[in-house]
């Protein structure tokens, strides 16, 4: 089938995706963002930069990551064929490393010897600490003290890699507070410091830049899946917290008509309980962390505390491009509860011998819901964005097991 390509060119020069995105920061950060925009534009135009990025993706990360046809699980579900993009096989165990390599190379090009990052579950922190070690940079990772407690193993991994982990005690002591603290570090140490943001949020150019560095996921899929399955998928499914793995796999497919793009948010204990992280589904437009996007907030405009079994999805905002894709109708957004995600986690372990991250389990759970409603010649491509080793503790606890 011949696909008709549709034009798509976002964001605009000021970083807007329709009404979303932009640059909402204090004046003190403006010059640093301007410097970053210029440096990124120059790097994009430089074939050597691209070559270095691609070299490390191949030889250090292990790209391209394969696509795997989950035949047994698909058969048991009795419907569409589920294919998994195996980002879990990357070095460090998730898609986060793609972006970290891009930004660390940019930091080096800009002559910044120190990198900082915020982290929730610790995956982005680990990926940042990894590339900092790889390129010989000083690394400081901000992490909510609540997350430090929940993710002991990842904290230790970061320390092994030579990073300093700073527990953040303010606010809800989770990802959003770590982000606030990292911004403060950046504004204070702008001269020698590069802030590696881990998701497609923050002030322009971050949402665009992180998307571009993650787009390798979708670009590989566009070549791989026709080789495997004979054609492009009917739907691409990915979990959405901040939304970087979803933007990475969606972006190359945005102009491709006939491919549904489905983002899956965390419904936590259920949307009606208020304990969830479904910003696009249950939030409304607002301004946080430097961009306009959908936000979980109370009627006074205060950002509310979120919940998800998966720390990586536990964030009250979402990347502004997702906000635009939702409003424009190009992408759809669904939700999956903690319990549904856990079921998919166990199913993939049992039926395919793959332990998925709890984040990715949300996308898997949605695919498992969709598959039986579709005929067996339909193709669902799920971004298996990370592996579940980091989640052993959480899953065991839910099953009443203590190590």
């Amino acid at each position: 089938m011949q696909m008709q390509d549709l034009p798509y060119s976002m964001p605009d020069a000021a970083g807007h995706f329709g009404p979303y995105g932009g640059i909402f920061v204090a004046e003190t950060l403006m010059p640093a963002l301007a410097e970053l925009r210029e440096a990124y534009a120059a790097a994009q135009a430089d074939p050597e930069f691209r070559a270095e990025y691609e070299y490390d993706l191949k030889h250090y990360v292990g790209r391209p990551s394969p696509i795997y046809h989950a035949k047994r699980w698909s058969g048991l579900l009795g419907g569409a064929q589920i294919y998994l993009k195996r980002e879990d096989l990357n070095h460090t165990g998730a898609h986060k490393i793609n972006n970290c390599i891009g930004q660390a190379l940019l930091a080096r090009r800009m002559g910044k010897p120190r990198v900082i990052a915020e982290t929730g579950a610790g995956q982005h922190g680990v990926a940042t600490a990894t590339v900092a070690a790889r390129y010989g940079m000083e690394c400081v990772v901000y992490m909510g003290s609540e997350d430090v407690r929940r993710q002991v193993a990842n904290v230790y991994r970061m320390k092994l890699l030579g990073a300093t982990v700073v527990p953040v005690e303010s606010g809800s002591k989770t990802l959003k507070d770590a982000l606030n603290e990292a911004m403060r570090d950046w504004v204070t140490n702008i001269g020698n410091t590069f802030y590696i943001i881990g998701t497609v949020a923050g002030p322009h150019p971050y949402p665009m830049m992180v998307r571009d560095f993650q787009a390798v996921i979708g670009e590989e899929c566009k070549t791989q899946i026709p080789e495997l399955a004979g054609r492009q998928p009917d739907a691409v499914i990915a979990c959405v917290g901040g939304g970087s793995n979803a933007m990475g796999i969606f972006y190359p497919y945005i102009p491709v008509a006939g491919v549904r793009l489905i983002g899956v948010e965390a419904a936590g204990h259920g949307l009606d309980t208020g304990k969830h992280s479904a910003s696009l589904t249950a939030g409304r437009s607002g301004v946080l962390h430097g961009n306009r996007t959908y936000l979980l907030q109370d009627e006074d405009g205060q950002v509310i505390e979120t919940h998800s079994i998966s720390a990586g999805l536990d964030y009250p905002g979402v990347g502004p491009e997702h906000a635009w894709l939702k409003d424009s109708g190009r992408a759809e957004y669904a939700t999956i509860t903690d319990a549904e995600a856990l079921q998919a986690f166990h199913d993939l372990c049992h039926f395919e011998g793959i332990i998925p991250a709890l984040e990715s389990s949300h996308a898997l759970a949605h695919a498992a819901k969709m598959a039986p409603t579709l005929s067996s010649d339909k193709i669902l491509l799920v971004n298996l964005s990370g592996r579940g080793d980091k989640d052993m503790h959480t899953v065991a606890e839910k099953s009443g097991i203590r190590f």
């Binding site: 909402f24 204090a26 003190t28 403006m30 301004v287």
Partner: protein, 273 residues
């Protein structure tokens, strides 16, 4: 003429500089905000910057974030901040009030509704920290329609282009952030401030207040000799934090009187940097 312009004009006529203290509305308790505002006036404040608390005050340091958290625990909201301003206006019709906060609570309130209610309450200026000029043309226009001054930040790193934008959208005064970092940070480059202020004043055509990093009378005095206003925030919040229950207002008044005296002495003597 707005209360802010009247204040700067009258100070200029006396050869004095404006003292602009900052407190967070609702910190430590909502019922202490009015007594604290009275104490600021009694201590020599010319303009009061009243912080509207936000859950994620990204541009502030830990001190002002703690103040925000204390206020939010007690249910402070933008609506209640405006109610406090209305109460203050019943007893004081002279001291200008500048609300300082973040974009999201203002947008949740609705920009036009906020403009109307802030004007009715007696607000004179609004500084939304995360609204740079390029993102707030509509907001600045809405404020100006109700005679509220949109106040903008400039930093040591701000470009000449930025001076022009701030001159276009801003009114009242410029808040010059005297150092890199967040509110409450430690060091301040006084020579740099002395070099930049005359340039900004000339290019933007508004009085220039200097804030971030001013913690004592000596620094305030030196700033007063070059700038039009001295802004003090975190140091006052610390005074509130460290006061036993019921003593915050007199302590803040005492602290501010010291700053006021140091500034007035310096400007009277024409002490140079």
């Amino acid at each position: 003429m707005s209360r802010i312009s009247t204040t700067f004009a009258s100070l200029a006529a006396q050869g004095r500089k404006a003292l602009i203290p900052f407190i967070t509305a609702g910190d430590p308790q909502p019922d202490q905000t009015l007594p604290l505002m009275r104490a600021l006036v009694a201590g020599g404040a010319d303009i009061i910057e009243l912080g509207a608390p936000f859950s994620d005050p990204m541009a502030d340091g830990p001190t002002i974030q703690r103040a925000s958290e204390r206020a939010l625990v007690h249910g402070m909201s933008l609506r209640r901040v405006l109610a406090l301003v209305r109460d203050f206006r019943r007893e004081n019709d002279a001291t200008p009030i500048v609300l300082m906060g973040y974009a999201n609570p203002v947008e949740a309130y609705g920009i036009d509704a906020f403009a109307r209610d802030a004007h009715e309450a007696g607000v004179d200026g609004v500084l939304v920290v995360d609204y740079p000029p390029e993102e707030c043309a509509g907001f600045a226009a809405a404020m100006k329609r109700v005679q509220i001054d949109p106040i903008f930040l400039l930093a040591p790193t701000s470009t000449a282009k930025r001076f022009g934008e701030v001159a276009q959208f801003g009114a009242g005064y410029i808040y010059y952030v005297s150092l890199k970092g967040v509110t409450g940070s430690a060091t301040l480059d006084l020579d740099e401030v002395a070099r930049r202020i005359p340039l900004i004043r000339e290019q933007v055509g508004m009085p220039v207040g200097v804030g971030f990093g001013i913690r004592d009378g000596a620094t305030a005095a030196r700033i007063a000799t070059v700038a039009d206003a001295v802004v003090i925030g975190s140091r006052i919040i610390e005074e509130i934090e460290n006061s036993p229950a019921g003593e915050a207002a007199p302590r803040v008044q005492g602290f501010l009187s010291g700053i006021r005296a140091a500034m007035d002495t310096a400007t009277k003597q024409g002490v140079a940097l």
